[in-house]
Every structure is written in structure tokens, then in C-alpha cells.
């Protein structure tokens, strides 16, 4: 019998699997964005947690940076289109969502040696979600150029900090839950 050696796809390959997982991630993210789940954090005025944000970091962490980026970028664009009829009106937020997924997706490749068990994977998934959020949403500072009505203070206190806090909480809780649920199934499926 001859064994056929097949190289594992790298983090940046765009295979059929990447296309389909991205489409599912983007569809779920758009759907939940449209339904607009949001839980206000008690004692705050404008900080709310969107639990479905954890989907984005999960797709990045579990399936790689390309899936993470496309889930965030396309999911947010399509979600905005469904909810507000304006896919490109806030395109920089879509890019920021995509970058958050991308950073969360790069993380497992850096940390591969430390993820030895399902538990450690779940832990690093939470870390990846938070780091992805903090880094990815830095992109919204482009508003200083394209939305001059918003000053530095508004972007910092009205947008960046509330979004990063709310999304980090969602990522830290939801991403590991989904990793723990997906791991056994992915082994069954042979992935």
C-alpha cells in the first residue's frame, strides 16, 4: 500500500473548507447582528455585551485567520445591510470586526505548542478572543480622518472603550464554550 503524503494547508490557504466555514460564520454573525442581541452591563450607560461576537473570535480561532477575517468583515457588512440597509456606511467597523477575527485566527499558530489539551485550547481561545478584540478594533481610529465630527474623546469613550469591554467579555466567555463544544465533534468528523 502506498501512503500519499498531503501537506496540511497553511494558515493563509483559501480552500473549499475555508470558503464554506467563512460563509457559515458570516451568515451566523450577520443573522445575530440583525437580531441585535445586546445585554446592557449594569451600572454603565453605553456598554453592552453582544454575545454573538464570540462567534467571530471562535471562527477565527478554530478555522484560521482567513475565516476569521471573512466572518467578521462579510458578516458585519451583510448584517448592517439587513439591519440598516447600509452595507458600506460604516465599512471601517466591518474591517475592524474582520481584523479582530484575523488576529484571533493567527493566535493558535503562534501558541500551537502550548495548546496540549482541550482545556488549554479553551483558555487560549479566550485569550485570543480578547487580544483580537483589543487589536482589531484599533482600526476604528480611522474615524479621526473619515468622521471628523467625532473627536478623539468621543471615539475613545463613546466607541473604542465600550466596544472593547463589551466584546472582550463576550469573546472571553463565548469563544471557549464554542471551542469545548466543537473539539469533540471535529475529532469525530476527522478534522
Amino acid at each position: 500500500m502506498t501512503a500519499i503524503a498531503q501537506a496540511a494547508p497553511g494558515p493563509w490557504s483559501v480552500t473549499t473548507r475555508v470558503i464554506v466555514y467563512s460563509a457559515i460564520g458570516a451568515a451566523l454573525y450577520a443573522l445575530f447582528n440583525w437580531i441585535a442581541f445586546a445585554i446592557q452591563i449594569p451600572g454603565t450607560e453605553n456598554v453592552s455585551v453582544r454575545p454573538h461576537y464570540g462567534l467571530l473570535t471562535f471562527f477565527g480561532f478554530a478555522f484560521g485567520p482567513v475565516v476569521g477575517f471573512l466572518t467578521g468583515f462579510v458578516g458585519n457588512t451583510v448584517g448592517d445591510q439587513l439591519a440598516y440597509g447600509s452595507a458600506f456606511g460604516s465599512w471601517w467597523w466591518s474591517v475592524a470586526n474582520g481584523l479582530a477575527g484575523l488576529v484571533a485566527g493567527v493566535f493558535p499558530f503562534w501558541m500551537a505548542s502550548r495548546m496540549t489539551s482541550t482545556g488549554s485550547k479553551a483558555f487560549w481561545a479566550a485569550v485570543a478572543g480578547v487580544v483580537g478584540t483589543v487589536v482589531g478594533f484599533l482600526f476604528i481610529w480611522i474615524e479621526l480622518i473619515i468622521q471628523p465630527e467625532l473627536g478623539f474623546n468621543t471615539i475613545l469613550t463613546g466607541e473604542y472603550i465600550p466596544v472593547v469591554i463589551g466584546n472582550s467579555i463576550a469573546a472571553a466567555i463565548v469563544t471557549p464554550i464554542l471551542v469545548l463544544a466543537w473539539e469533540p465533534l471535529s475529532e469525530q468528523l476527522g478534522r
Binding site: V14, T15, T16, R17, I19, V20, Y21, S22, A23, I24, A26, A27, L28, A30, L31, W34, I35, F37, I39, I41, P42, N46, V49, P51, H52, L55, F58, L70, V74, G75, V78, Q81, L82, A83, Y84, G85, S86, A87, F88, G89, W91, I146, Q147, P148, E149, L150, G151, N153, T154, G158, I169, A170, I173, V174, I177, L178, A181, W182, L185, L189
Partner: protein
């Protein structure tokens, strides 16, 4: 509940144009209108955008709630921004601000802040007027081929196509999962308890819907692989053609982008202080 791109503008003048036109127009418009700050110019742009919107023939009753929701959200955000910045983020002539109301915590409501809010609200409404036809006047099955013909790669075009096709299916699965949990006496959407409790309560819907759709994706992946997806140049069944009217529409919006860029570059579109607000 059913989330999907509804083809509300079927048969309208815009729907008969090449779908690439509607996508291109939305992109050109966003980049153009983002550069305009003067609320008087923005009002002219909004009027033109509404004229374009009318060509899509979208029935008002079908999108009324969406417009109201959009107006409320944008107004709240713009007012919040006006209060937080006190109007100092604008590019008004002069540095003096006109105080209308002093608020707690050192916040102020100024004529400049409200003028900024007016600019933002008008701009977002014009974005929506040009964006709605993308959602409602393009046949959902045409998005993929339109993106491909706009120069994006086959894989990305197929991915967007699949996303749009998956949304109604996943929406149905989501509704069924909620119903299944409610039949068991558990309401995942109940508005009770603290943050942790409410987040934990959502897990029984997020996990099955996500994991179930991923497991189901294997069939789609296998079907695509068996048909040799990605191994060669993809042929799209649907053919698109730009007619003369399509070119004219694109030309008008390219012209708009050029004018808006010139206005911005020459400083002819700075923020305008609404005179009736000045005490």
C-alpha cells in the same frame, strides 16, 4: 422570524439595471458623501439620494420599521456625540462655541454640537437611501456573479453568495432551536438575571445552532470538492450586461465622487453652523 434579503424592488427601474451598478453606486456614494461636511450640501445630496431610492420602487410599508429604527439609532448616536464633544470636533469658522444648555459632569449642549449632529444624521440617511436598493433591488442570486464581475476573485464571490443563501436557512434553524428550548420549559431570551446568567442562558441556542451548521457544512464542502471547486477557472451561468442607462448612472456617481473630493480638498465643505441655533 425570517432574515433574508427580500427582493422588494423586483421589476423597478433600478432592478432592471446591471446589479454591479447598484453596488458600485453605494461604494462611490459612501466615499463621496463622507467627504462632505456642510449640512446644506448634505441636504442636497440627501434629496438626490432619495430620488435614486425612489427608482428602486421599494414599498414603504415593507421598510417603514427599518427607516424608523435607523432614524432613532442615528439620532441617539449623533446627539450623544454632540453632547460629548460640545461641538468642538467640527471645522466651523472661528473657535468660539455658543452654549445652549449646561449639563451635569461639565457636559454642554452647544449650537455647534447640534449642527454637527444634523450633518451626521443627514449623511447617514443619505447612506441608507443609496444602500437600501443594494439589499432590495438586486436579486439575491445575483450578488455572487456581480461581485465576480466587479473583479473580486471567484472564491470570495462564491463565499458571499453562500453567505446570502445560508442566512434564511440558519434563521429558520435558529427559530426552531428557540422553540425546542421553550417546549422544554426553558426560555433562552428571558430578560431576567445578571450579565453572567443571561449570557449562560444563551449558550443552549448559540452552541447547537453554530455546531449544527458546522457539522452540516461537511455536505456542502464535499459537494463542492467533488465538482472540482477551485481547481480551474469558474464559469458563471448568469451573464451580466451593462446597458447605456447603467453606464449613465455609474458616470453620474463617479462625477459626484470627483465633485465631493474637490469640495473637500479646496475647503469648500466645512461644517456649517445652523444660524437659528445661535442665541
Amino acid at each position: 422570524m425570517r432574515a433574508a434579503f427580500r427582493y422588494l424592488g423586483r421589476g423597478s427601474w433600478l432592478a432592471r439595471r446591471d446589479p454591479r451598478v447598484l453596488i458600485l453606486v453605494a461604494v462611490l456614494f459612501v466615499f463621496g458623501a463622507s467627504q462632505v461636511r456642510d449640512v446644506r450640501q448634505l441636504l442636497v445630496i440627501l434629496a438626490a439620494a432619495l430620488g435614486y431610492y425612489a427608482l428602486a420602487g421599494i414599498p414603504w410599508r415593507s421598510v417603514r420599521l427599518q427607516w424608523i429604527y435607523l432614524l432613532v439609532v442615528v439620532t441617539i448616536f449623533a446627539t450623544f456625540n454632540a453632547v460629548l464633544t460640545g461641538g468642538q470636533a467640527g471645522s466651523f469658522v472661528g473657535t468660539e462655541t455658543h452654549l445652549l444648555l449646561a449639563l451635569p459632569f461639565g457636559l454642554t449642549l452647544t449650537a455647534e454640537g447640534l449642527s454637527l449632529a444634523a450633518s451626521q444624521i443627514v449623511r447617514y440617511l443619505s447612506f441608507a437611501a443609496v444602500g437600501f436598493p443594494v439589499a432590495y433591488a438586486i436579486a439575491p442570486g445575483d450578488f455572487g456573479v456581480a461581485l465576480r464581475r466587479l473583479g473580486l476573485g471567484d472564491r470570495f464571490a462564491v463565499m458571499v453568495d453562500l453567505t446570502i443563501r445560508f442566512i434564511p436557512t440558519l434563521s429558520t434553524e435558529f427559530g426552531e432551536t428557540i422553540d425546542a428550548q421553550r417546549v422544554r420549559g426553558f426560555d433562552p431570551l428571558e430578560h431576567r438575571g445578571g450579565l453572567r446568567t443571561r449570557l449562560r442562558r444563551l449558550a443552549p441556542i448559540f452552541v447547537p445552532v453554530t455546531v449544527g451548521s458546522l457539522a452540516g457544512a461537511e455536505d456542502t464542502i464535499d459537494a463542492m470538492d467533488l465538482r472540482g471547486f477551485g481547481t480551474g477557472k469558474r464559469v458563471w451561468y448568469r451573464q451580466l450586461a451593462m446597458d447605456r442607462a447603467s453606464w449613465v448612472v455609474v458616470g453620474v456617481f463617479v462625477g459626484f465622487l470627483i465633485v465631493a473630493t474637490l469640495l473637500n480638498a479646496t475647503g469648500l465643505s466645512e461644517h456649517y453652523l445652523l444660524p437659528f441655533l445661535v442665541p
